[in-house]
């Protein structure tokens, strides 16, 4: 082995015991560089996440929250959500929500969407949710990424827009009808008055019996003309373009006028067993409001109540839980035109055989006035109660409604500083209570 080895090699001036220092220093430099890179990446990702205005959550398989973004804190105000169940925070429930898109996404391994209303800090917020599955490459564990976008305002605007469009159309129609109907009505009214004046001159000339009949007919024509004018007037006030000017409105009048409008609608055979029982309030329930808008609320609630007896479709904003007992759907459709509904004020004219009752009760107490619309219809399933006032939520078939009625009611009542609540039991009926503040004395 001495070949190539010299005394200088043995002395080894140039050689020292090799340490790990150089290697360690290199490794430390590499680690520092890697750390800088990952820190930069982290900040980038953080900036991107902060730029997302949607609420974002990462959920584990059992729907526990793993991570959230800052929007979560802004909206929910919950400090330490990690480790808690998502349904516990959003629904205050101890079980997953039936419509949960996260759950569906886990099962199908696909992106799932859903829109739902959550009551958060006393406010009802509507969220559009997108759940997408993510796979942890290291552990093969599956997680779900959920985005929740607050679309409450968007939906409200949409609903208002639809309503405004509808009302504009109705207003035009009403104005046209009023114009067209008023002209002939004026003629009929004038001629009927003329007839009545001339009938007096026939007294003693014609058969007294005939005289009495003519006077009666002419009086009836005049009376009906008056009623027609009132209807036209109601139609006009109802369809007056939206105005935010409030004036004193008597809720008894609102109820009475709305019932007049519904008069014809109620003649349909399917409602013949429906009785509307209006119990006016003895102390005038006067609030500061927009009369036309309150009539709209009243009308919507009544139509909904009527639909609760309609076996063919659910009410707007109501789930249909099957025909309840006493549903008019059980009566033969070709029954004679016996109008069973009684759109009466103060009711009391019920007959035997009337099985469905809608009670409308204006009320007034110390600080509030309002009205209660109670029906004995099909009721609303509990899972739909939260969505009732959500714009475009409907269980009605296509063509029967687009789901803005109750949402419009909600908006109008809220704008009046009031409150609208619902209680319902499936098979027993529903009660809607609208409460409005009384004007200061």
């Amino acid at each position: 082995m001495t070949q190539g080895t010299s005394l200088d090699d043995l002395i080894g001036i140039e050689h020292s015991k090799l340490g790990f220092f150089q290697e360690l220093r290199q490794t430390i430099e590499q680690l520092k560089a890697a750390h800088r890179d990952s820190e930069r990446n982290r900040l980038e990702i953080e900036a991107i996440l902060d730029g997302i205005t949607d609420l974002m959550m990462v959920l584990s398989k059992d729907l526990r929250i793993i991570a959230v973004n800052h929007v979560f804190y802004d909206i929910l105000g919950v400090r330490d959500p990690e480790g808690r169940y998502c349904y516990e925070i959003f629904r205050h429930q101890d079980h997953p929500c039936p419509e949960c898109p996260a759950h569906r996404s886990f099962v199908t391994d696909e992106v799932c969407r859903e829109t739902s209303i959550f009551r958060i800090n006393g406010r009802k917020l509507q969220f559009e949710m997108v759940a997408s599955p993510i796979k942890d490459p290291a552990t093969q564990d599956r997680q779900i990424l959920i985005f929740k976008r607050d679309v409450t305002l968007e939906k409200e605007f949409q609903a208002k827009f639809h309503q405004a469009e509808k009302m504009a159309t109705v207003g035009m129609l009403a104005a046209g009808v009023a114009h067209e109907v008023n002209n002939p009505l004026t003629a009929i009214h004038g001629f009927a008055e003329g007839i009545l004046r001339r009938v007096e001159r026939l007294r003693g000339i014609v058969d007294p019996e005939m005289h009495a009949d003519l006077a009666d007919y002419a009086g009836t024509i005049l009376g009906e003309c008056g009623r027609c004018q009132e209807i036209v007037h109601s139609l006009l006030t109802f369809s007056r373009p939206h105005s935010s000017e409030f004036s004193p409105v008597n809720l008894n009048v609102v109820v009475g006028d709305t019932l007049k409008l519904l008069h014809n609608h109620l003649k349909q055979p399917k409602y013949r067993r429906v009785r509307i029982d209006a119990r006016l309030c003895p102390t005038a329930p006067v609030v500061l409001a927009c009369e036309a808008q309150l009539k709209q609320v009243m009308l919507n609630l009544l139509v909904n109540a009527l639909d609760a007896f309609d076996g063919s479709a659910g009410p707007e904003g109501k789930g249909q839980a099957g025909p309840p007992k006493g549903d008019t759907g059980s009566v033969d459709g070709d029954a004679p035109d016996g109008v069973e509904y009684l759109p009466t004020v103060n009711g009391g004219r019920g007959r035997n055989g009337v099985e469905a009752v809608i009670t409308v009760t204006p009320f007034r107490d110390g600080r509030h006035a309002g009205f209660v619309v109670r029906d004995t219809g099909s009721g609303i399933p509990p899972e739909h109660l939260d969505s009732l006032f959500e714009p475009f939520f409907t269980t009605k078939p296509v063509g029967r409604g687009i789901g803005i009625g109750l949402s419009t009611c909600y908006t109008i009542v809220t704008e009046h500083g009031g409150d609208i609540r619902v209680e319902s039991r499936v098979g027993e009926g529903s009660t809607f209570t609208v409460t409005l503040p009384l004007p200061p004395e």
Partner: protein, 380 residues
């Protein structure tokens, strides 16, 4: 004057210094130690003692005991594999030259990969070794101090010299208490090995003032203390032998050796002779061969062996060599080569192999294989 270099490890010396093993190991980053030792040390109880020290200080250990008296290349590779598989960190060797050289070989493979024969020669190790702590149990080998590692290449039947500063251990803990349990034969063999280290490095071409001092001091201590150590197991004498061995190690590690060790390596590679037993046989003959070029130095050795006297340098040198032969004979160890080998037929091969040994380089007088053969014939 030639530029020289003097490199030694951290040395912890003294009775009970073994107790400092655990903190030393931990400072070097130990959590799971590879403990290299041999069967002989197990029976003396020292292996168990070291294991207790490690366990008692919260250090895990993996034990490797497959070290023969002339460590083989395959043993080194097995040890390195165990080190990797068991995810060990620091290497601790307990024993004489064999476990320590095995540990050096293991460290070399762990740090650099490949086969141990790849590193034969000087300065072939290019990457760091794991930290090493050596606990010498024989006052002789000097492996705990040196940059040498001698491993037997089984296939070629020769001992490879691997020389690198990286083979100097990080810490050498020398506890003279350990020597108390050694056999008489082992005390003698290792003391003579240390004496040979001192003589050869003193005569070496690379000897420097720093190594000279250590070499002469080692010779003095061995001459004065070997007999009391053997006869009475005198603790003081044993301690002095430890100091001598360490001093001789410092000397030969930096100055190198001579043809005595070239021949010893060659003999050990072919016949597995106990290394320490070769020197009583060869050393006087090697000294005599070197006399023409190293009269003054051999005279200095002679004065240590026979005591100061007024005479010519050459006569003192010769007197010293003679006295040394008698001294070895008086210890009851073999003094003729014929007592170690079965026949003379291998002598030429031994000589031809030894001439290529790294130690031949530093011998003060140039040699041919024929010269070495002559020395062997004289020693027969």
């Amino acid at each position: 004057m030639r530029i020289t270099k003097f490199a030694i490890p951290e040395i912890i010396f003294g009775h009970g210094s073994l107790d400092h093993l655990a903190p030393c190991a931990r400072r070097l980053g130990a959590s799971r130690v590879l403990l290299v030792s041999d069967k002989g040390l197990e029976s003396s109880g020292w292996v168990e003692r070291v294991m207790d020290i490690l366990s008692g200080n919260g250090l895990e250990w993996v034990y490797f005991a497959d070290c023969s008296s002339n460590p083989r290349d395959h043993q080194v590779h097995e040890g390195a594999q165990i080190y990797r598989e068991e995810r060990a960190d620091v290497v601790i060797a307990l024993g004489g030259g064999s476990p320590m050289d095995t540990a050096k070989g293991i460290g070399t493979i762990v740090g650099n990969g490949g086969r141990i024969s790849d590193y034969e020669g000087a300065n072939k190790i290019m990457r760091p070794l794991p930290p090493m702590i050596f606990l010498p149990t024989t006052a002789g080998s000097g492996s705990d101090i040196s940059q040498f590692c001698i491993i037997t290449d089984v296939e070629r039947r020769l001992k490879m010299s691997i020389i690198s500063r990286s083979l100097v251990p990080n810490v050498s803990i020398i506890d003279p208490q350990v020597l108390l349990t050694k056999s008489e034969e082992l005390i003698i063999a290792s003391a003579i090995d240390a004496f040979a280290h001192a003589v050869e490095s003193y005569l070496s071409l690379l000897a420097s003032p720093f190594t000279d001092h250590q070499a002469l001091r080692a010779m003095e201590l061995i001459m004065a203390n070997l007999m009391p150590a053997v006869e009475r197991r005198d603790p003081h004498a044993l301690e002095q032998l430890s100091i001598a061995s360490t001093a001789a190690g410092m000397s030969f590690s930096n100055a190198g050796l001579g043809i005595g060790h070239s021949l010893a390596h060659s003999l050990g590679g072919m016949f597995d002779v106990l290394h320490g037993l070769v020197h009583p046989v060869l050393l006087p003959h090697v000294m005599r061969y070197n006399l023409p070029v190293s009269v003054d130095r051999l005279a200095a050795i002679g004065r240590i062996v026979v005591g100061p006297r007024v005479a010519s340098a050459e006569s003192i040198a010769r007197a010293g060599i003679e006295r040394l032969g008698e001294f070895f004979a008086g210890l009851g160890v073999p003094v003729r080569l014929g007592q170690l080998l079965p026949d003379r037929s291998a002598l030429e091969t031994i000589a031809r192999t030894a001439v290529h040994d790294a130690c031949t380089l530093t011998n003060p007088r140039a040699v041919t294989w024929q010269d070495l053969l002559t020395i062997c014939e004289e020693a027969w």
